[in-house]
């Protein structure tokens, strides 16, 4: 199982702040996001987002493993 976190506009679109999923074998962050975007109706394109795995910024090509915490991050707007 992996834990998926949604923030800001993505959380609104997903209708939740987090969920637990079983990834496909050798799923990358990119593959996961594209599947979830379809299932949950996420309207932000991957190019607008960054991804973090286990509280570190990560690459979209990184492969997910059981126990990972994956976060999809919309364009930031702090300050």
């Amino acid at each position: 199982m992996i834990r998926v976190l949604y923030f800001a506009a993505l959380a609104d679109q997903a209708g939740r702040h987090e969920e637990w999923l079983t990834p496909e074998p050798s799923d990358t962050a990119q593959q996961l996001y594209e599947r979830l975007a379809q299932q949950r109706g996420l309207r932000l394109s991957r190019r607008q987002l960054r991804v973090a795995i286990n509280e570190q910024f990560a690459d979209w090509s990184d492969v997910l493993r059981a126990g990972d915490q994956v976060a999809f991050l919309p364009p930031m707007s702090g300050g």
Binding site: A8, F57, A71, M76, G78, G79
Partner: protein, 483 residues
């Protein structure tokens, strides 16, 4: 010190903590909740964060500021939760001996925080509507009036602008040539630039290196250039690599670039870039200046027609580290940028495959087709690859020097070649300046580095086997050397 807090920020205490008798200048920035945003009246605002990542990233930003600027102290506090008009959302404070560094570091921290800190702003307007604030309206979406004038050039249009936006250009060297190149490419909307330069800004650079101001003296050029370029076009993504592009370094990341523009004053870098363009088919543009004259080489559309820098420089283009008036490199750099844009957009160019020389001393402006393989010994040997297998056909007085490690030599023996350690060869030990040598390694990178070093030391007859033994006709066959 970086903190996230859901309580009001105590600025007086935070500023007092910066105190240091060594510091002569303190700069503080406070970002406050405004009563308006893009013309709408803001009533209230909520900040949510990804706290674990925000704290790591916030600390990383402060550490970068400490590395980049000569400062004594830096701190940042960011609010989360509900805020009212006038509340402080973020505070940054910097103390430094000199105000230049304090201003620059404070600016750096707030800019990076806004860009990188995983914090999101949710605004509630007086009319009751709410909205997540983001960069939805960025240059990716729709027509940007900023590029109007260049899109009107025949052949550019929306499609050409889109090609620029998706392009990644590596600029090797951000000195007198690289400054106008990077500035014009960022201005034109090239999406991503990688700047490569190990140097720091010096006072004597300023007259000809337009991206730098007096306050940048002492900063890494790639950092100061990045800062100015983002002021000019904040939608550019800029990677700053404070390193040299040398044959020995890891340069695999260069393969991500659609185009390499060599603005360095380093012949080894130019040789490497032109060689790679010829072998891989990726385009490159290379420039050089000498007093009142300068030149640029634009790789041809067809890789096999390419020449390497050694071909060109053998024909008399010398970019010595001598006196220079600022306008000469500014002309050549701008011309290089023009060629880069034309190549990226897909416009024809009368300069492709040419070495173009603009000499403001004599008033002679000319384009040459550089001679390939004929006058360039270095290139000639490399293209004589298949002949090299029978060394005597090529040149019986040519000594083959094998720069590879013992393990590499075992994998692919080279009978008749004399093994010599890389470090020894770089120092010229065991070699005679009046002898003729062909330097060989596995990929051609080490041999190229040695070749250039030896030539600088006065060896007049050394050549490198371009591409190394890997480029030889059949890797599975041991070479039969008849000497």
């Amino acid at each position: 010190m970086f903190r996230l807090t859901d309580q009001a920020i105590d600025i007086t205490a935070a500023a007092a903590a910066l105190s240091d008798p060594h510091s002569g200048g303190f700069v503080e920035f406070r970002g406050c909740v405004r009563n308006h945003h893009h013309g709408r009246s803001v009533e209230q605002l909520h900040y949510s964060a990804y706290p674990a990542l925000a704290i790591t990233e916030g600390e990383r930003i402060l550490e970068e500021a400490r590395q980049r600027y000569a400062i004594d102290a830096v701190a940042c506090i960011h609010r989360t939760g509900d805020l009212q008009i006038g509340d402080t959302a973020v505070w940054v404070g910097v103390g430094a001996a000199h105000r230049d560094a304090a201003f620059a570091a404070c600016r750096y921290v707030i800019d990076e925080v806004k860009r990188r800190l995983p914090v999101w702003k949710h605004e509630r307007y007086l009319d009751g509507e709410t909205q997540w604030v983001g960069c939805q309206g960025c240059a990716d979406h729709g027509h940007d009036p900023r590029y109007d004038r260049q899109q009107r050039v025949p052949g550019v249009g929306e499609a050409g602008q889109q090609r620029l936006r998706q392009a990644h250009v590596a600029v090797v060297g951000v000195g007198a040539l690289g400054c106008p190149v990077a500035d014009l490419l960022a201005g034109a909307g090239v999406g991503r630039l990688t700047l490569i330069d190990p140097d720091r800004v010096e006072l004597s650079n300023l007259h000809r290196q337009s991206l730098y101001a007096e306050a940048d003296v002492g900063a890494l050029k790639v950092d100061a250039a990045r800062r100015r370029l983002l002021e000019r076009n904040s939608s550019t993504v800029i990677d700053a690599r404070p390193q040299a592009l040398a044959a020995g370094n890891d340069t695999a990341w260069l393969d991500d670039a659609d185009l390499v523009v060599d603005c360095s004053d380093d012949p080894a870098s130019k040789q490497w870039v032109t060689h790679r363009a010829r072998v891989s088919g990726r385009p490159c543009i290379v420039g050089g200046v000498h007093q009142l004259a300068g030149g640029l080489f634009v790789s041809p559309r067809q890789a096999q027609d390419g020449v390497c820098w050694a071909c060109i420089s053998a024909q008399g283009s010398d970019c010595g580290d001598q006196g220079v008036l600022g306008p000469t490199p500014a002309v050549i750099g701008a011309a290089m940028a023009g060629e880069a844009l034309r190549r990226l957009i897909g416009l024809d160019s009368a300069l492709a495959g040419r070495w173009t020389v603009l000499d403001f001393g004599s008033g002679q402006f000319q384009r040459f087709v550089p001679k390939q393989r004929k006058t360039c010994r270095c290139h000639q040997e490399a293209d004589g690859r298949s002949d090299a297998v029978q060394r005597d056909r090529l040149d019986p007085a040519l000594h083959w020097i094998d720069l590879r490690e013992a393990t590499e030599r075992r994998l692919r023996p080279l009978p008749g070649a004399q093994p010599l350690a890389f470090d020894e060869a770089m120092a010229g030990r065991g070699l005679e300046p009046d002898q003729r040598y062909l330097l060989i390694c596995t990929s051609g990178r080490r041999s190229e580095a040695v070749c250039h070093t030896l030539r600088e030391q006065g060896f007049g007859q050394v050549w490198t086997l371009t591409g190394g033994v890997r480029a030889l006709p059949d890797e599975s066959t041991p070479l039969a050397c008849s000497a």
